[in-house]
């Protein structure tokens, strides 16, 4: 049986059935018989069965993915950023395991299972806010300060305080569905996110950088964002500006 800690993400050979241990009490089983693809999850003594009718020559891949909802991050300790100063930190995000088909180079997710626990939350006011996951994070500046493991994604964030007053960090939304996933030898990382804080009254700008999360290491890009950000720059900026810090 394979283990996720040692498993290499990517295409899987289904000439033999695949059994992979997700957690201590969870085993994922992927088997193919002709054009029948079975994805079974053994969980707490019961089996959740899924059956798909797929083209016989279809490729199947296993990939990590970020959660389908954005994440509201809260600092585990009180955090304040002085005017003109910048916080560079990493957020540790529990990943999901995805089983995908690849047809004509296009990846289609068939099954997903969270590899960690995230609680549901709500960002914004109760009338028109949005559902999100919630995560308390120590916001370590060095990735090594986390007990790094392959079931987590590490998202570099950078927050610059361009206001004239001290910014007391309460919480911010991290739009993980828009992030690309990169693989490094020891961990997975998401695209870097830069946030410019101007004031609590105004909307603040957030941009997702399309570059390697950790500059001095060469990663492999293994998963495109779940939700592709709009190509229209104005709309894209407005989208991010509007929702960065108004919760």
């Amino acid at each position: 049986m394979d283990n996720l800690e040692t498993f290499n993400w990517g295409k899987i050979n289904l000439s033999e059935n695949l059994k992979i241990e997700l957690k201590s009490d969870q085993i994922l089983e992927v088997l193919k018989e002709g054009n029948n693809l079975y994805i079974n999850l053994h969980k707490n003594g019961s089996i959740i069965k899924n059956r798909f009718i797929v083209p016989e020559d279809v490729d199947i891949e296993l990939s990590p993915s970020f959660p389908e909802l954005p994440i509201v991050i809260r600092s585990a300790s009180k955090l304040a950023i002085f005017p003109g100063e910048r916080l560079n930190a990493f957020v540790e995000v529990p990943m999901l395991l995805s089983v995908n088909t690849i047809i004509d180079g296009k990846s289609e997710s068939l099954f997903e299972e969270p590899l960690g626990t995230l609680s549901k939350s709500f960002f914004g006011n109760t009338e028109n806010g949005e559902l999100a996951y919630s995560l308390e994070t120590p916001l370590y500046s060095n990735i090594e300060d986390y007990k790094v493991n392959k079931l987590m994604g590490y998202c570099p964030i950078s927050i610059i305080n361009k206001s004239n007053s001290i910014m007391n960090f309460d919480r911010m939304i991290l739009r993980v569905p828009n992030l690309t996933i990169y693989r490094y030898p020891d961990y997975l990382a998401g695209s870097p996110v830069h946030v410019t804080f101007t004031s609590f009254e105004q909307n603040n700008q957030s941009t997702i950088k399309k570059r390697n999360p950790i500059q001095n290491l060469k990663p492999v890009m293994i998963y495109q964002p779940r939700q592709v950000a709009d190509n229209n720059l104005l709309r894209k900026s407005f989208y991010f500006i509007k929702t960065i810090y108004n919760g």
């Binding site: 609680s119 549901k120 939350s121 709500f122 109760t126 806010g129 559902l131 919630s134």
Partner: protein, 271 residues
Amino acid sequence: MSKLYNSIVTNLVEKIDLSMVALVTATLVIGIFLLNIIKLIVNRTVLNKSNKQTKMLINKLVSYTGFSILFIIILGEIGIELSTLLGAAGVMGIAIGIASQKSLGNIISGFFMVTEKSFEIGDVITVGDKTGTVYSVELLSIMLKTFDNRLIRIPNESLISTDITNITRFPIRRLDLDILVAYKTDLQKVASILERIAIDNPILLDEPKYYFQIKNFEDSGILIVFGVWFEKENFLAVKNSLMNDILIKFRENSIEIPYNHIVIKKESDNI
């Protein structure tokens, strides 16, 4: 009226022939086709960004108007004189007007309801003692589909003069539970148990934060209000799991929920 009736009967009997049937059929087919095209254009342009109930209402109006025009055209084709019809329409109009006062009131109320946007098709609303999902919006009424799969028709006039509670308007809701605990109970302990329940239940939202209030000293215990936030579609699951969790945790921690006792004594008991 008798003149109109005679005209219709005479014309129908004398003038029906195959070419007329073909003409009427063609007019009907082309008319319905054109009406559908008009509805499509209206939907794609004017109603493109409108909500479902506005679309439904305007579509019905277009249909009724269209069919009325088509009806008049067909009457003309089969030789019924329009002037006779219009003459009679004056008399009929008064009769119909008197008879349809309520209906007209319902139509006008319907338009007010649509512009108010207090609910949309698919919303769960409570009107008086009736709760259900808005199934359709008609010209004169709305249809509510109840959770036990019954259809209730509520006239627009009733709606406009009644309180309507839209239960699913916003993406999240709060469920408030009234919990009675015995006077001897440690309220700090109750607060921390309820907090734990709110944190541990995976279908509850951790923000906005749960609500805890010591509400009142009642006759048989202290009334506590415990409110939790959840996604609107999870109402039943939240209520069932929350009540179950509270009962289990209260039992584990020997927290008494007071209730009325009936003591039955036999006459032979010498008290």
